[in-house]
Symmetry: D2
């Protein structure tokens, strides 16, 4: 079974900031996509903010099993209509992997319903990510922990709803901790937030990070069917038990509800 | 300790539809407020869509411990800025009780992150609400179940994230079931969804419904402190452990992050 | 990939009560196994209370991907040592499907940590199981609901921890409701409780029930690796960061902890 | 409102090991109790393993709102009958605060259903506990974090079901992290696990630790009513909807179910 992955990248700092372009000459999205392409079961394409519909047309999303999301300075430029569209597909079962500064993306905040805030420091310090559940699909092939020599720090409190499962917790050289890998299900879509990924460090060139992303994409792939959620009226004559309508009504037979 | 409750009402069908006005001559919000005022520990005021800021100014929300929300045909007329404001207060700890057709309100969908859809039928059928946890604060004073002789039916599937606790499940005469009472916590705010409340029946005049709402308001009142969630930078010099900055940076010292 | 399923049956009422034997002449476990064998990807064997180790030797459990559990009158005769063994395998990733009266089995109560109690009535009444999440793997191939013409009733309150996902809720002819299909994860094991299955009705001959069990077995199959959970000491010299031991100690180097 | 707290202590190492006795001359339970007695709303008594019924008679438990549990080397000596009794009271609404090495106590493993294992190191290293939710009642009066200069280390993976809320995560000098404060609800009982507390360090003399325990006891106090959970039969004649019994039955009218 092939898994269709769309790697979404904001693609702004790579264009504007030489230090970032040096690390990611083709854009961060292309490096992330290249890592995923190591798995022959994946069919991987990329999409960026600058494309029409930010590269996320209805057709693209319909044929996407797993979407990865990296954004930072341009969250506000993502159109609400596209966010609606992505949310709808997640509820239908598309997997979503939200990366690093994507904690503040419209789509992540939309799906969480919370502030998604945190504390942060840009000091190139060491991060050690501990595996909280070594048997979890996302942690396959990892040891008890893995380290990144230089990272931006994200610290607790992280303004999220309680995750379904805690996969990683980070230890930072400067003394903080963070829930760096966590999962949620919303509708039938599996969501994974993964913390590493600051654009001034070569995080997405790291082999262990690539492994986590491959594991996560496999885990997030849809299972079950695509359910188009709606709010259907059940006419009196179609009730499972025979009933006779009583009392006042607002709606005429066949009328749609308010939305 | 007094609990400050604001009862929000859309107040449209009461004005337009004689059958609704007959049941709720002062508006549904006033009937709901009157039920809550039976508890001397509550200080209750009302607010409606038609007022400036929909009656939900920053000052009103700041001094609200628990907000109840009833809306139906005019969800789309609620301003996004007010929804932002209400969400912020919920995350800070304000309780929120969402009633009946409020399942499709902007604020409920915002906090859940899902479609919040369901199936429905307007046939005045009987509903029996079973208590799933008789020891829960919201179920105090109830028996194993209570009945409403005439209600609109809401049926599964209900498009919500898994609740923290299931309080009521409904049995309908026409053969459906529904998760009619459920709780979630988002940030420090407690959220309770309560299904009954169609405007063509005198649901909010029912003594058991009043009891549930009083219990729920008491349960939803803030505990803990009001935490103003933000995304603060921790300068290198303020790290708990001594560190020396290494590697590239995006931000100048003291600069705010992207949002 | 083949999935190894072990169907465990208490096998007491089938031997003692003619009305049960008539419906399940080879025992309920054989009927359940036959239904699962319809899926060529499954390798299915059975085990019963009366066998040495209740048919659940270490070897059998090691090679079991999914265990189904039906018991009723003889929960107390299941040895605690075997319950320990089954629990350990669930935590390592073996799926567990608990059926009907298995709500009071030692293994289900052990994994839930709660009373698992409910209300009940034996009146051969109609049950309608509503699908709460039509996109879920366990609900594939079902319509909005399915019916069983004659069942024992189980009613709320059901003494369980909040499920991870609600799959089915039942409507009963006599007026009750029940959370009839629910999932939990404990360790790396997926657990599904499925309500239908009273021994005086031919529930496990029903095609829809067979379909649900096949779906559930596929869903519950292990993913990830088998993690043997332990409580290892990390010697000072093996700490990820260099530290020097300070203060008093209870344990000599290399000593195991208390358990 | 007064809250009745029972502080349970294993009271073995205090008797046997001079280094522990020096820090806790009256036993760890008395130090923990003294800290809680700082709050005039609390009525605090202690109970130990060596007393009849381990000091936890039915009468004591009936009148206990919150039980704290510290044990380490003698978990196996706690009688299963007393564990049954404590579990029953938790399900009825009694709060339970499990301390440090109590992660391996029978009562905690019973309520969690999992291994509750972790990694550990006894090196007197520094621990910094970060607050994951500053608005939570258990975190009131704390800053962003607090530190303990000398602690035993506990590290991830921690073999627990996903907590309802994450209150603290620890950073250790030696490089590990741990979910040091977490809550669950089982039945109507609130459960809080709090990590610090090794007997060779004066942890329970620490003012911040005392504050956390006072906050936690207040949070864990019962709300709602005491529900005695059972498995009652609903006779056909008492069904909410009129039904006529059909099909085979196992039980005579009035007979109890199997357990």
């Amino acid at each position: 079974m092939s898994i269709n992955i769309t790697v979404w990248g904001e693609n702004v700092h790579e264009q504007k900031i030489p230090a970032v372009r040096e690390i990611y000459p083709d854009g961060m999205h292309e490096t992330i996509a290249a890592g995923l392409r190591q798995d022959p079961a994946f069919t991987v394409r990329t999409a960026t903010l600058q494309q029409p519909d930010h590269g996320l047309t209805q057709e693209i999303l319909e044929s996407t099993d797993v979407l990865t999301w990296w954004g930072h300075c341009a969250h506000g430029e993502v159109s609400d209509a596209i966010v609606d569209r992505v949310q709808e597909r997640v509820l239908q079962g598309m997997g979503l992997i939200v990366l690093h500064s994507g904690h503040y993306s419209k789509i992540f905040k939309r799906l969480m319903g919370t502030s998604c805030s945190l504390t942060w420091r840009e000091a190139g310090e060491k991060e050690r990510l501990w595996v909280c559940n070594p048997g979890h699909p996302i942690a396959q092939g990892l040891g008890a922990y893995f380290e990144l020599p230089n990272t931006e720090m994200y610290g607790e409190p992280f303004g999220i709803p309680t995750p379904d499962e805690q996969i990683f917790i980070s230890w930072f050289e400067g003394g903080e901790v963070f829930r760096s890998g966590a999962t949620w299900k919303r509708g039938n879509g599996k969501i994974f937030y993964f913390r590493p990924g600051h654009e001034t460090y070569p995080i997405y060139h790291n082999d262990t990070v690539k492994l986590v992303l491959k594991n996560a994409a496999r885990w997030a792939a849809p299972e079950g069917s695509r359910w188009i959620d709606s709010c259907p009226n059940v006419p009196v004559g179609k009730a499972p038990e025979k009933i006779v309508a009583k009392g006042g009504v607002l709606h005429q037979p066949g009328e749609a509800g308010f939305k």
